[in-house]
């Protein structure tokens, strides 16, 4: 029983962050059709901005206000400059997808190495809300509780944004069918750039929350990108609620496997991923 509480609650506490990263990737990959290998690098940048500000006396949670919009802007501009041009030049979707994957790969090298030049490769951490709280008789990190709460709040706010606003509707239309959405008078390049920007912002916010809970390094990005890819597949390409729920599911599975055999935790992600692709490539929430 203790074990189940530990696995489920522990999994939920890590899952919130997974959800946030994955929702970001779901926008970039599911809607804008960019399999952004550099997604985790935005997360890393968010984490290091937080670290840097924290060293200068700024409360880490306040960074959300800075990091989110800043990375949104970076993502938006990147899409407008690089990916829009790739999209317009590509003769078909397949070419666009593969070329943008490669461009994202280039981006990954660029962002990571700039970060290495600035912050080095030594792991960094700072202490924030570093004590434990007892839930159902088990101890959990206070900072992870806070991070999960924020992750859920940001995720929910974003979901409402998609459901209730005009821009949100345009994004959902683009996710369904970019061509038709374009015909319906949606400025498709603008909307896709928005998606990419929001994706980068979500990654950055996840990075802020991760820096509160875990040690950070400039090379940690790719690991989170892979997790996000698995979750997005799990939840269904382009399905925001799917990614949200998928993040928690993966968190619980990962925690469970870690209790049993930590060396297989990452392998278990890939097993889930590969089986899903074979059995149900649309994901659990895909239509």
């Amino acid at each position: 029983m203790d074990l189940i509480i530990n696995i489920v609650l522990g999994g939920l506490l890590i899952g919130g962050i997974y959800s946030l990263i994955s929702m970001g990737l779901s926008l970039q990959y599911g809607v804008a059709k960019v399999l952004n290998i550099a997604h985790g690098e935005f997360l890393m940048v968010g984490a290091f901005i937080t670290y840097w500000l924290q060293q200068n006396g700024v409360d880490p949670l306040l960074t959300i206000v800075v990091g989110g919009p800043l990375l949104f802007l970076v993502g938006f501009i990147l899409y407008r400059t690089v990916f829009t041009s790739i999209r317009l030049k590509a003769p078909n979707t397949g070419v666009y997808e593969s070329n943008s994957l490669l461009a994202a790969f280039g981006l990954y090298f660029i962002v990571q190495n700039i970060a290495v030049l600035i912050w080095g490769t030594t792991p960094q951490r700072f202490s924030y809300l570093a004590s434990s709280v007892t839930i159902l008789g088990e101890d959990f990190n206070e900072n992870r509780l806070v991070a999960t709460a924020f992750a859920v709040a940001i995720g929910a706010a974003f979901y409402l944004f998609l459901e209730r606003t005009r821009i949100g509707k345009a994004i959902r239309a683009a996710a369904q069918d970019p061509l038709t959405a374009g015909l319906m008078g949606v400025d498709i390049n603008f909307v896709l750039a928005l998606c990419f920007g929001f994706g980068a912002a979500m990654a950055g916010l996840a990075g802020v929350l991760i820096s509160i809970c875990y040690p950070i390094t400039t090379t940690m990005g790719l690991g989170y990108t892979v997790i996000a890819i698995v979750v997005v597949t799990l939840g269904g390409l382009g399905s925001i609620p799917g990614s949200f729920i998928g993040g928690f599911i993966l968190g619980i599975i990962g925690t469970g496997v870690t209790y049993w055999e930590p060396g297989l935790a990452v392998a278990s992600y890939y097993v889930i991923f590969i089986i899903l692709l074979l059995v149900r490539p649309k994901g659990i929430m895909g239509k």
Binding site: S132, P215, T258
Partner: protein, 418 residues
Amino acid sequence: MWNKILKYSIPLVICLVLVLTTVFASGCGGGGTEKNEILIGASRDITGPMAGFQDFGFAAVYNMWIDEVNAAGGIDVGGKKLPVRIIEYDDGSDPAVVTRNLEKLITEDKVDFLFGPTGTASLFAAAPIASKYNKIIICGEGGATTLIPKLPSMPYVFSVLNFSDHFQIPVFADICNEVGAKSAYIMYMSDLHGAEYNLTAQSEFTLKGITVLGTKSIPPTITDMDPIVKEAKASGADIFCSFSYPPQNILFMSTALALDYSPKMVLLGPGGNFQFFPLMFGDALQGVMAEGAWNAKSSPEAGAFAAKLEATVGLGNMDWWGAIVYYAALQHFAQAIEKAGTLENKAVRDVIATETFETVIGPMWWDCGPDHAGGGLLPQVCYAGQIGQWQNGIFEVIDPGDKRTAAPIYPKPPWPTP
């Protein structure tokens, strides 16, 4: 027709360009027979995940050593003082690239000697290449038991660092017996490093009457250590061993602090012995132990060396594990070249393998197996210490015997309240 010709001529032109570059490159690379410098090559992790070691590992020490040697006019080779120059190539921590870089250094740049790459896996990739070309390689960061049976067939490989059964864990088990710690929980990384520390610890602990209450292997990519820390806490073991690298050790410390897991004894792997650790964790490090140790109090020479190194790299980049032995090995190396009076690798290698020279750690020699025929490791007496413990901000050597700079604190005080 034109298109056809074009299609074939493009690759031809490119090949031609390459060939021409080749000829030029080799023409310039040749050089005269008269040596006017000692050229040392190294493949290092300049951009990869272990790039941090450039600032405080072997590279920091050999750069300081090269500056010193050159300031003094160079190394005397057969009556002529030759300055030392190093060529470093980046390998991004990829052992495959290490191989390729070393081949370039040996065959293209024609370096005289090699310095080792960053990390155990890269060291393993480098050792066979150096042996293939009979080039002396002095290895810094890294080392593992698996290398020992290979050393007799690799007479040009000299590995400086102490590691698991190369004295660290046996000494640690003795310390546990001394203070009366009875049981242990082992967390090890699922790589070569972790696996062999775990194996050594299992057998040493059994030998010396310490019960192992649990073991868990962790992947290098681990991000969440709560399950392991909770399990270790529940086991109630006196000793917690973390046989892993800096990122995992930092993650363990953070998790243990948050979940208030404070066993009587904590032993950390690499990372725990570097100065950035106390800068990161402050008072919480009081009583925490790590593998491989020296400090300014080890000897007057060590004190002077510590001051000099700190002036060069800064306090934050001090390495209390390998720095002093790296330096000693380089001093030994320079004296060996002078004694051999040549840069010919076979002659220098034979001097290194057989002679004892005075160094910063006292008299130093290499243990190269029967008849001094194989590659070398340092004997136990040459090391300044095997196990260290943070006490009031100083990484004290707590080995039993005359290397000790302070008595071990047991049990470790609980974590300070945040």
